[in-house]
């Protein structure tokens, strides 16, 4: 299954939106945190896990989804949220802790909830997996259309929740797709020192489901594999695991000195940045002109600027609102 030109352009533009978003958040995050870096300071306090480099995982899968499909994501959620169609303005406002944010500022960057497009995430490693299985079960029980996609990092594949969720989804033959974003690092711990098998696609076999290893951080290859997996799930064929080799171009979180990275690794990863790579392909294979490219970039930039402006200009919630919304 290959993407049409329009789908490729959508993937490209969405990756650009995501990257611009992260770059803008990065710059604003550092406001008030120089010369002394203190997470508590500035317009965006707290932890910040950027997704630079991992955009192909988001767009290649989400290109096949509608707002009705369910996605659960991780502590590194922005790229997936953007590809799933989460309201960018309200997501930005949430990250800034504003009243207009998706959760009125209660959740922040690791707790993005947008029920309009069935998106959620959790800061606890592996804990999006059970809920994705449950959403798929609910669709099956209600006879409602839609599949569920659970995103995790490769580090999360060593959590008990991963193994239990895979088995449960398979034994009940549920419409779930498990997407492993393998960026080779869990904070400072390299995959090879934490994971007993060379890749996580192999683990799918133990739970009776197909597992596909997708090297190259290539949105088109991801698109193809995800298309088959999602079609299979939609037609009642049960779950699939997609193991995507991707690159984390930023630190684990903002402020990470990354001393654990081998020398030269980051430069090598940056040299194979998936966004310019897709632009080159679009130009070579799909006749994307410089003008088209410029227009796409401007549109992407415009969306991000608009969202950030909205977030910046929104008010903070009243402090006492902290006491609301504990119960429905």
């Amino acid at each position: 299954m290959l993407p049409t030109r329009d789908q490729k352009v959508w993937m490209y533009e969405t990756m650009l939106v995501s990257r611009y978003f992260e770059e803008t958040i990065e710059a604003i995050y550092l406001e008030g945190k120089k010369p002394v870096f203190n997470m508590a300071k500035g317009p965006i306090p707290g932890e910040m896990h950027l997704s630079n480099g991992q955009e192909p995982c988001a767009v290649g899968v989400c290109a096949h989804l509608t707002p009705k499909d369910v996605v659960t994501s991780t502590h590194r959620p922005h790229h997936v949220a953007i590809a799933k169609g989460v309201d960018l303005k309200r997501m930005a406002a949430e990250i800034f802790g504003k009243k207009t944010g998706l959760s009125g500022g209660r959740g922040g960057h690791m707790h993005i909830f947008d029920p309009d497009v069935n998106f959620s995430c959790s800061g606890i490693i592996g804990q999006g997996m059970g809920p994705a299985v449950g959403a798929a079960l609910s669709r099956k029980l209600q006879g409602k259309e839609g599949v569920a996609v659970a995103y995790i990092g490769e580090g999360a594949a060593n959590q008990g929740a991963f193994h239990e969720a895979l088995n449960l989804a398979a034994v009940w033959k549920l419409p779930v797709i498990f997407v492993v974003e393998d960026n080779a690092w869990g904070i400072s711990v390299a995959k090879a020192t934490s994971t007993a098998v060379p890749n996580n696609a192999m683990r799918a076999q133990a739970y009776g489901m197909p597992g596909h290893l997708i090297p190259g951080n290539d949105p088109i290859a991801i698109y193809s594999a995800a298309g088959e997996a999602i079609a299979r799930a939609r037609s009642g064929g049960g779950p699939t695991l997609l193991d995507i080799e991707t690159d984390r171009l930023a630190g684990h979180f903002m402020g990470d000195a990354e001393a654990y990275r081998p020398k030269g690794e980051l430069d090598a990863l940056r040299a194979r940045d998936p966004i310019p790579a897709l632009a080159r392909r679009l130009q070579a294979e799909d006749g994307l002109s410089d003008d088209d490219n410029g227009a796409i970039m401007a549109r992407a930039r415009g969306r991000v600027d608009e969202a950030i402006k909205f977030a910046r200009e929104s008010d903070y919630p009243a402090p006492e609102e902290a006491l609301d919304k504990v119960f429905a």
Partner: protein, 350 residues
């Protein structure tokens, strides 16, 4: 050593993070059974700095980076401890307890009892607590009460580096499971913002601080303020302000929640007649209620006013700064609590 050099050594100031690492290193040097495992405790030295230097000195065999598999490695700590080792296991944030709670709640804390005392589980479970820097509700909790409620586990929560070192040494030598809860805002990690008063003089030589012995960190006669960890610093700041209003506050640092030094708290309240308990953990069913109960159960007549608590409201911890700062205990809230007691009648006038 000249007296000048001795004074310089005595004035060595350490952060809690360094004090913890120093205690662990000293115990590892004398006891080959002690080893450390957890996420990012190896070359990185712990996200919160409390294992820094250990990997270089002791190597990968005794300072083990784990996969993100808390269920397995927490269970492994139980098994290794029962088999003659003395594991120090790190749960990066206490909020992650959920994925390994069975190993803690149903095995680590209970196996000694279940076995009629024939099995020992000498684990030190180190874990970070606390918020204040907008990390939201899965990375900012204290959960002191959750662990203190559980029979079979000792609970340590230091407020400064001197105590941190001595309590860690005691924890490692204890024959029982000890949860050692260090507050991120006291750790001395600049990137989290840090309470400077937690960084204090720490002797280089090894020493222990007994569990169940609270410290009177400020003497006073008008009101007793009880807390642990960050709560102690809030209490001290409130006491400082109260002093300018002519109120003399006594501040009690519990240091360990289990065992709990009810005697020291009672003696202090018997002297002052007024009690405020400060806690960054949720208010209901927690430490504040327990401390107040321990006075009320024993002798209501020592109270000159209804006791007050300054704790975290019963809400998940919000991300946004205005909401989080609104919810957190602080010195102003402690002073307000004192003001409330002024107008109220206590037992003696009832």
């Amino acid at each position: 050593m000249s007296s000048v050099a001795a004074a310089a050594v005595n004035e060595r100031r350490l952060t809690i993070a360094r004090a913890m690492a120093e205690s662990i290193a000293q115990e590892m040097r004398i006891d080959p059974r002690v080893f450390v495992m957890g996420e990012d405790v190896g070359p990185l030295g712990g996200v919160f700095g409390n294992t820094r230097g250990l990997f270089d000195e002791f190597g990968a065999e005794r300072v083990r980076d784990t996969p993100i598999s808390e269920t397995a490695f927490m269970g492994a700590a139980v098994g290794a401890a029962s088999d003659g080792m003395r594991p120090i296991v790190e749960l990066m944030f206490v909020d992650f307890f959920g994925v390994c709670f069975d190993a803690i709640y149903n095995s680590m804390a209970k196996n000694t009892y279940f076995s009629g005392g024939t099995v020992k589980v000498p684990v030190v479970l180190m874990t970070s607590t606390g918020g204040g820097y907008s990390d939201a509700g899965q990375h900012s909790q204290c959960l002191y009460g959750t662990f203190a409620h559980l029979p079979g586990m000792k609970v340590v929560a230091p407020s400064n580096a001197y105590d941190a070192k001595g309590l860690m040494t005691t924890a490692i030598r204890d024959e029982n499971p000890v949860i050692y809860m260090y507050h991120k805002g006291l750790q001395g990690m600049g990137w989290l913002g840090t309470e400077p008063a937690a960084t204090v003089n720490v002797p280089e030589e090894s020493y222990t601080i007994p569990f169940g012995k609270a410290a009177i960190v400020r003497e006073g006669k008008d009101v007793t303020i009880v807390g642990v960890a960050m709560g102690v610093h809030n209490a001290l700041k409130a006491a400082e302000k109260l002093a300018t209003q002519g109120v003399s506050a006594e501040v009690v640092d519990l240091r360990t929640l289990v065992p709990l030094d009810r005697e020291t708290v009672f003696a202090s309240v018997a002297k002052t007649g007024k009690l405020i308990v400060v806690d960054e953990d949720y208010q209901s069913y927690g430490m504040t209620g327990e401390i107040i109960a321990s006075i009320v159960e024993r002798d209501l007549s020592v109270l000159k006013a209804a006791p007050q608590r300054v704790a975290y409201p019963d809400i998940p911890i919000p991300f946004t700064r205005p909401m989080e700062q609104f919810a957190l205990p602080n010195p102003e809230k402690i002073i307000e609590a004192y003001e409330k007691m002024k107008g109220r009648r206590g037992w003696r006038w009832m």
